[in-house]
Symmetry: C2
Subunit: 307 residues, 2 copies
């Protein structure tokens, strides 16, 4: 990053810290617990003026669904999400393409207008009502990121802003964050030319943010991380290793292919599988309902133990 870009990023993070703190004070005044939910994947540029990026895939569905559930459970939610990833309540809408256009209809008026077709979008009306209620209550504070560096700066800013609220704060770290990046000093200035032959990329490790989050930024908070693997054989070991290394409270462990219907909640001394039955899936229930309900209980126990 150029010096000017770094200054702009620092100013944006400072502004976010002020915004989150003022919002959290309002939540505390109403007696609400606060959750910082991170959601969506980070983008890592491969060039300084980048046309190519390394992306960690995440639709943001898990984070958005969890944010809805946390608000319903009485939390104030700071939703730190990848721009254009799934957003609480808005996720009932298809992306702006033919599916969305076909779900709209011209209303004759006067004046002529555009309305949602209730048959095509039956979930929109209740979702829009819930969204309105949440925003009128101030229960949702949305903050966007795109790049990895931006995500890391905003996470740190939000963590510092929330630290004063101690054990009442839940960190729900569902974002898919890159483990690798290319330092600015090693990045080509211009678009990599394909005429130069096969592409060799060497990426450095991103420092894990869980360590300073737990030790320095918000040491009193209730911290939940997510572990996504494709190999079931290493999932629980990796989760336990993370708990030992970072000393936080919970890992939600999940496998790529079954992540929408089952997870394992791993703590220092427990291992709790949660899953949806076929009947629950048929009813349209989401696994996030069970995850949030379970973690809310653990959070309550955590707060009571600290008092």
């Amino acid at each position: 990053m150029a010096a000017a870009a770094e200054e702009a990023a620092a100013a944006a993070a400072a502004a976010a810290e002020g915004r989150v703190r003022a919002w959290a004070e309002g939540q505390a005044a109403r007696g609400r617990r606060v959750a910082l939910v991170t959601s969506g994947g980070t983008q890592v540029p491969l060039e300084a003026r980048a046309v190519r990026f390394l992306e960690n895939f995440s639709s943001g569905r898990r984070g958005a669904a969890s944010a809805e559930r946390l608000v319903a459970a009485g939390y104030g939610v700071c939703f730190l999400h990848r721009a254009r990833s799934a957003f609480p309540w808005a996720r009932v809408l298809p992306p702006p393409g033919p599916a969305l256009l076909d779900a709209l209809r011209l209303t004759p008026g006067p004046p002529p207008g555009v309305a949602a077709d209730p048959a095509a979008l039956p979930a929109l009306l209740p979702a829009l009502r819930d969204y309105r209620r949440a925003t009128e209550d101030g229960a949702l504070l949305a903050i966007e990121f795109t790049g990895l560096a931006e995500y890391l700066a905003l996470l740190k800013a939000a963590a510092r802003a929330l630290a004063p609220f101690g054990s009442n704060v839940m960190f729900y770290l569902a974002a898919a964050v890159s483990d690798f990046y290319i330092p600015t000093s090693e990045m080509p200035e211009h678009k990599i030319q394909s005429s130069e032959g096969p592409l060799q990329i060497t990426m450095k490790m991103v420092p894990k943010m869980l360590s300073p989050l737990v030790k320095e930024w918000a040491p009193e908070a209730f911290v939940i991380s997510f572990k996504l693997e494709t190999d079931p054989l290493i999932l629980i070991d990796k989760s336990r290793q993370a708990l030992e290394k970072y000393r936080h409270q919970v890992v939600v462990a999940n496998i790529l292919e079954s992540r929408r219907t089952s997870v394992i909640i791993v703590t220092k001394d427990s291992q709790t599988p949660l899953s949806l039955s076929d009947e629950e899936i048929a009813q349209g229930m989401e696994i996030e309902e069970k995850i949030v309900s379970y973690l809310q209980g653990r959070h309550t126990a955590f707060i009571e133990k600290k008092v």
Copy 2:
């Protein structure tokens, strides 16, 4: 790719070829020229069960705006686009997030419903009318891709389907296609573990599709490629090299930072800058209006010369 996945991809491409040909016959029967517009960026997996991808950035705005203009100019447009990238007419809508939810309002009814706020979305009503007209006319055939392999297979299928319509077909190749990929045989099966240290990636060159497109698949067609660079010093040279190498008709050359307001149309014997004046920008005019208008004229001349 596993054998089953390869078979499924081949079947999907064959189905697309049939669909495009039937649609193009309908267009020809109405005396319409046909344009295949490619749009958006390709996704290249880094793992077999992938959580990480190389992405070529493209919002798809150029392709979507051009497709609207081509339909207005009387073309039938086959829109081969990255899923969730900008879509003709739908691009007036913000992504499904707070901006979209805040632009909707609850209507009391009965029955209660949801309508677009005309003050927040003034462009929606005319866009929806244009979209309806285009789809009722059959002037827009939308086909989606996500991965690079899928894009390449669909481009080939569409090109073969359109070849019989000779010089009446325009290929408008605005998609941002990866130059690099990892062969399946060299891809790790599972998520790359960050504990194994820095990431080394070696990517092979993707064979350029322009060569078989021009020589074999649709040798009579009017073919336009796009060249996006970040370094203005090499832009025209790279464009001329492409024209000499692939023997197609037009390169639309553009620089990342100024791509929305100026381009240079490069042919074997001409170089035509097109740009928006400050006044045109203030009026909300888009550069694609000028690009399509210019290329439509070149296409007419190309057809007349062939007759």
